[in-house]
Point group: C2
Chain length 194, copies 2
DNA sequence: TATGTAAAAATGAACGTTCATTCTTTTTTT
DNA sequence: AAAAAAAGAATGAACGTTCATTTTTACATA
């Protein structure tokens, strides 16, 4: 009973504040007091929802990662053809990274620093399975290059993080035609050349 | 006279310690006292070489970025053919990221977080010019896709950061044949398909 | 429906620690 | 012996977390 009574809104506000402040200042430069203030909550209240600062960060990471993959696979169906399925998933991921860039930036920061516990990192990876399965199928069918899934991810998906960060910094603008170009490059880099 | 007398070795030791500790703990979780200890120096001595902690980080970043690009272009000659020049530079970059992964990890962390000052970030980008010039030439010759340099970097170079981080985490091993595959994917994604 | 009450949730202030930076003194160099 | 470099100890601010207390909620009773 106890835990369920605690307002889920307050937890969400804390997670949201964490994302925004960590994006702007980095994890260790965002004090709990600021997170509390942004969430309209007392610092002490944070400890009713999270064990400590590290736990707050870990849970925020897993939350955001789940949101990311849920969005990515929402309209995907495992019966789709490999190329069509990949295009669908790719475009959903691209859309997420560009429209929800607060979330995407947060993930990029966590994925390139030692601030997240290894357990939470592993937890986050699990949700990507449908894409890895699709790639395995593509390799069997001779449509996708016989490379490790890490390599495929590096070329097909990861560039979107770089593009998102560049746009976020104001270095470039990504419109629909850029996105189509990007998709073609992603597909070129992993498809088997006929 | 004053500045020149200060030992360059001591400065280098401080920069090296900063890289190692920031890689393992993140910037804000590495105290000046630990940096000093690792460099066999008193905390107060750091302030003879650097203005403050932020300045230490900024200078470390610019140093490492310069080392990275010096290595990348060391054997490149602007008279080379586009494809050959790209292959050469790509392989030098790959070699740097995989053999000097301490340095590469440090750059990845700085490039995905707000810990570096914008000025130092800009300073670091300048040194990449030879590659951008090569790409512009390739576009004129119809060899390279007519995309922005950011897009080309995202697909041709940035995946190496992801692969380096994955290997560093023990998720995969990158041998020579993986590297050849990676190069083919990089080239596939930016070359004009005939 | 109104009231009393015990548990849960939330709070602001306080605590102890850590940290970046500075100060004063000592050591090294020229 | 004067100047530069380095050192260790000291300082004051900031932080994560906890504590003692207050406020809110849920609900039994009338």
């Amino acid at each position: 009973m106890a835990k369920l009574q605690k307002s889920i809104d307050k937890r969400n506000a804390l997670v949201k504040a964490t994302i925004e402040l960590v994006n702007n200042n980095g994890f260790h430069a965002t004090p709990m007091s600021k997170i509390a203030k942004m969430a309209n909550v007392s610092p002490a209240t944070i400890y009713l929802y999270f064990e400590n600062k590290q736990d707050l960060l870990n849970q925020t990471y897993v939350d955001v990662k789940a949101e990311y993959t849920n969005y990515a696979f929402a309209t995907y169906d495992t019966n789709m053809e490999v190329e069509a399925g990949f295009e669908l998933i790719w475009k959903r991921i691209a859309h997420f990274k560009l429209k929800e860039c607060e979330n995407a930036m947060f993930l990029a920061q966590c994925d390139n620093t030692p601030i997240i516990d290894e357990d939470s990192r592993q937890e986050g990876i699990k949700h990507l399975q449908p894409l890895l399965d699709l790639w395995d199928r593509g390799k069997k069918e001779g449509i996708i290059k016989p490379m490790t899934n890490y390599m495929l991810y590096a070329y097909a998906i990861n560039p979107l993080s770089f593009l998102m960060m560049s746009e976020q910094r104001g270095a470039m603008k990504l419109d629909q035609s850029h996105l189509e170009e990007a998709y073609q490059s992603a597909w070129s880099s992993i498809k088997v050349c006929q």
